[in-house]
């Protein structure tokens, strides 16, 4: 009987570090059967790492395992692979769908677990020659859907489904595993319409009533209040607080999520700069079709000489804004620079009108990995502004000027303290931080009037981070270049920027001066407008 009282899942002082950087510190919590646990926190707070540990993902073992204990039914477990976790009755629905578009809901739900009819032929050719028992497959799928309590046509092809039904198919797949006892949902409502989200919440309650425990990761705090029994708020790898869902409120959670103790860097914040009245850039009704970062309707004005930050949670569309303006993804709306409208979808026109962009995707967009640093830094300036070229035959032949290219590269290597063997080194051989500096140098070499910087500190170490931010600040203050920086780290934005705009659900939910307390931004991030927050 004592088994019954043991919690389904218990974590005891779980910790994890990557290359000496602690990302999880002393995490403790318990989860009972049928309980719904809300897990909230900013990006990088450690939620994904925690789930990776729970699932025995390869990445954890490859980076030296974890500290502390994970207990299921009071017994310690160490999952070597996600398969072990599945066998122990833990299922997870990831943010990205893992569905086959040409299969029906039923086929997807029972993928690779199809019921089979034995046949004589399978004696000869092995078990894979068994035919699939379509009837039982249908039945099992419908069982899982019923258990979830949603309306979903089991015969519908995934490719023809609305996005909500895809999500339900994913969840049904986990439910259909007979041993399922704990289900982890990673931001399941992010892609859903309001109505669909409601259905999902109802489904979570259904599961809970059937004794299945749920860990519910979401940024929509209202949903936590609606469906969870308790809430864990994580920040910087720690559990900041464990709350009873009934007794907490959205402002409290939002504050816990983003609120940091006033640190030294924040207090020594730059003095408030007076905003110029000149509008450099005005954006109206911008939409951008960037997968995972869809922008729906953004309106924004950037003042001359200002350092504007754009923040918001991942997937809300903040990264889509510069990518759309620069024409890297299909976009529409109206963008006016210094009173002149810029045609959207025309990268060249943007660059010609002195806008530069440092992409968040260093390796994919930002760099020529197989070429030298010289090429990487000089290339856009050469192509757009005809710099670093020697002209022969009256400009008919534009020859690469190796000397000038080397000079400018060496200049930036020195200025940004880029660690490399020479300017001829290939970009792929540099570390992430130094690669980022190359990307900055590339943009600086264009001498832009307006600079978009997207996630400049993503995936680089602390020292490089400080250097990169310092370089940007100086570029803004000394040369008066207008900078728009997009970052997931609010503190970083508050350190550098004059104003910060927060993007939620593909639109700007508010713009505040950087000096405002962080919980104000937290409220904007979770989708509460200013007046609601106050």
């Amino acid at each position: 009987m004592s088994e019954m009282t043991k919690p389904l899942l218990e974590m005891q002082s779980v910790s994890k570090e990557y290359n000496g950087n602690p990302v999880l510190k002393d995490v403790n919590f318990t989860l009972k059967e049928g309980e719904v646990l809300g897990l909230v926190g900013e990006n990088g707070a450690g939620k994904s790492t925690l789930m990776n540990i729970l699932f025995g993902m390869d990445v954890i073992q490859q980076t030296g395992g974890y500290g502390g204990k994970v207990l299921i039914d009071g017994k310690e477990v160490k999952f070597a692979s996600p398969l072990d976790a599945l066998n122990a009755g833990i299922g997870m629905v990831h943010q990205e769908f893992s569905l086959l578009p040409g299969f029906t809901a039923a086929e997807n739900i029972l993928l690779n677990r199809e019921p089979e009819n034995r046949s004589v032929l399978s004696l000869v050719f092995g078990p894979r020659a068994n035919t699939i028992d379509r009837k039982t497959l249908q039945k099992k799928a419908i069982d899982a859907i019923t258990k979830l309590g949603v309306s979903l046509d089991s015969d519908m092809l995934v490719s023809e489904m609305p996005v909500g039904h895809k999500q339900f198919t994913e969840i049904s797949r986990e439910i259909s595993k007979s041993s399922i006892r704990l289900l982890v949902l990673d931001e399941p409502t992010a892609v859903l319409s309001e109505k669909e989200a409601e259905m999902l919440l109802k489904a979570i309650r259904n599961l809970s009533a059937q004794g299945i425990a749920v860990i519910f990761i979401t940024h929509r705090l209202q949903e936590i209040l609606d469906v969870c029994n308790k809430v864990i708020v994580m920040r910087d790898g720690r559990i900041i607080s464990e709350l009873e869902a009934e007794k907490t409120s959205i402002p409290e959670m939002a504050k816990l999520m983003v609120g940091r103790e006033v640190s030294a860097s924040a207090s020594s914040k730059r003095e408030e700069k007076k905003l110029s009245d000149d509008i450099v850039l005005s954006v109206k009704n911008l939409w951008v079709d960037m997968p995972g970062e869809t922008v729906k309707d953004v309106n924004l004005e950037v003042h001359k000489g200002e350092f504007l930050g754009i923040g918001g949670l991942a997937g809300q569309g903040k990264i889509g804004i510069p990518n759309g303006i620069m024409g890297l993804y299909p976009s529409g709306g109206k963008v006016v620079l210094n009173g002149k409208e810029i045609p959207l979808g025309d990268t060249r026109a943007c660059l010609d009108s002195s806008i530069a962009f440092v992409s968040e995707d260093r390796r994919g967009v930002g760099l020529l990995l197989d070429e030298s640093l010289e090429w990487n830094i000089a290339f856009p300036a050469m192509q757009i502004q005809n710099k670093f070229l020697k002209k022969y035959l009256g400009g008919l032949i534009k020859w690469r000027d190796q000397g000038a290219i080397k000079a400018v590269t060496d200049k930036y290597i020195k200025q940004l303290q880029i660690k490399c063997t020479s300017s001829k080194q290939k970009a792929k051989e540099l570390s992430g931080g130094n690669q980022q500096k190359i990307c900055l140098a590339k943009a600086f070499a264009l001498e832009p009037k307006l600079l978009f910087v997207s996630e400049p500190t993503r995936g680089i170490d602390v020292g490089a981070k400080a250097l990169v931010l310092q370089a940007l600040k100086e570029y803004n203050s000394k040369l008066g270049v207008t900078i728009v920086m997009i970052s997931s780290e609010l503190e970083e934005l508050r350190q550098c920027c004059d104003r910060i705009a927060i993007v939620t659900d593909g639109a700007i939910s508010g713009i505040l001066p950087a000096s405002r307390p962080s919980e104000d931004f937290g409220m904007l991030m979770v989708g509460k407008s200013k007046k609601e927050a106050n």
Partner: protein, 346 residues
């Protein structure tokens, strides 16, 4: 040991085997009664004939269009130029220049269309290029029969219409480059004409890759998204590279004809892309990186094997299995390049 391994990795095992094999052939040759001088002259002559077609691979590889299996399209432009030049009746060196001149507009137009097509099928260029090459050869086979050529050197004697399968370039531009500045050093015969002709175009390509546009083209091949984010029109660069490759293909076949002495029509150009593709791969190029040294080394190695194996084999085992070996080596090389993880890291 580590060093050896990294060297092997960068040089490529197959390339090493081929180079070693060729070396072995040259070492064995004198013992089985083959005059090495003649073999070297032969290899050099073949280098002169084939090198420009191999060079035609470079622009397309640079812009990321992959291996130019559609070389036959360029060859067809060259064939049109060659036949038109002969049709005019002009003889001697001038006919060669005329052939180049006439083939150029065809190469530009075909290359432009071919480039546009490849832009619409990014990612599957090589397969489609192969079949574009085949289809165009098949289409031109019909055209050779129908087009109203009348020069008696080219038209079938008995029916008076339709071009012959092979047309001699004797009296027109046969050996025109080969005999220009042809020196004899001992037993080795070196044709500086052909080498200079190749060097001229190799230099042009090398120089082009050092210009602003050439730099853009390389960037497109190295990382098309980077290039796009830098305001480069990826499609335009790719089209340009395809036009260049096609034109070089046209020149290449003219150069080949002057050395070989014949124009081969109909199904002749069908499989001509394969030797050129495998030569540049043997020279060290990958599906998305190629340089002029790759062209030179590759052509010498490939043509060396093609000339040396038959004679050596014949003298050793009295069986000529060189053709079969050539098929295995050249296609094996292409297969090796295709199945390796894409050379560049994107």
């Amino acid at each position: 040991m580590e060093k050896v391994r990294s060297f092997l990795a960068s040089f490529g095992l197959p390339r090493l085997i081929i180079a070693g094999f060729l070396l072995l052939l040259f070492i064995v040759a004198p013992f089985v009664g083959i005059r090495v001088g003649a073999s070297i002259s032969d290899t050099l002559a073949r280098f002169g004939m084939n090198s420009i077609m191999v060079l035609a691979m470079v622009p397309m590889i640079h812009s990321g269009c992959g291996l130019n299996f559609g070389l036959p399209l360029g060859i067809i432009s060259g064939l049109l130029g060659a036949t038109l030049s002969i049709e005019t009746g002009v003889t001697g060196p001038l006919s060669f220049l005329l052939a180049i001149l006439y083939s150029t507009p065809f190469a530009l137009i075909f290359g432009w269309g071919y480039g546009k097509l490849l832009n619409r099928v990014k990612g599957s260029e090589m397969m489609i290029a192969t079949y574009v090459g085949f289809s165009s050869v098949a289409f031109m086979s019909i055209m050779w029969l129908i087009l109203p050529y009348s020069s008696p050197t080219m038209v079938w004697g008995y029916s008076g219409s339709g071009l012959r399968t092979t047309i001699s370039t004797d009296g027109f531009y046969s050996q025109i480059l080969h005999n220009f500045l042809c020196l004899k050093v001992g037993t080795i015969e070196i044709s500086f004409g052909e080498i200079l002709f190749f060097a001229l175009f190799a230099f042009i390509i090398w120089a082009f890759l050092h210009t602003k546009t050439g730099t853009a083209m390389t960037a497109v091949g190295s990382n098309p998204i980077f290039a796009r984010a830098s305001g480069i029109s990826v499609d335009r660069q790719r089209t340009l590279s395809v036009i260049m490759s096609t034109w070089l293909g046209a020149l290449g076949i003219l150069c080949y004809q002057q050395g070989y002495g014949f124009i081969q029509l109909y199904q002749g150009p069908m499989y001509m892309a394969m030797p050129a593709v495998s030569a540049i791969l043997i020279g060290g190029a990958s599906v998305n990186k190629a340089s002029i040294p790759n062209v030179i080394i590759g052509t010498i190695l490939y043509q060396g094997i093609v000339t040396m194996t038959p004679s050596v084999m014949n003298n050793i085992i009295h069986t000529d299995m060189s053709e079969v070996l050539r098929i295995i080596v050249s296609n094996g090389m292409i297969l090796y390049a295709l199945t390796r993880k894409s050379g560049a890291s994107r």
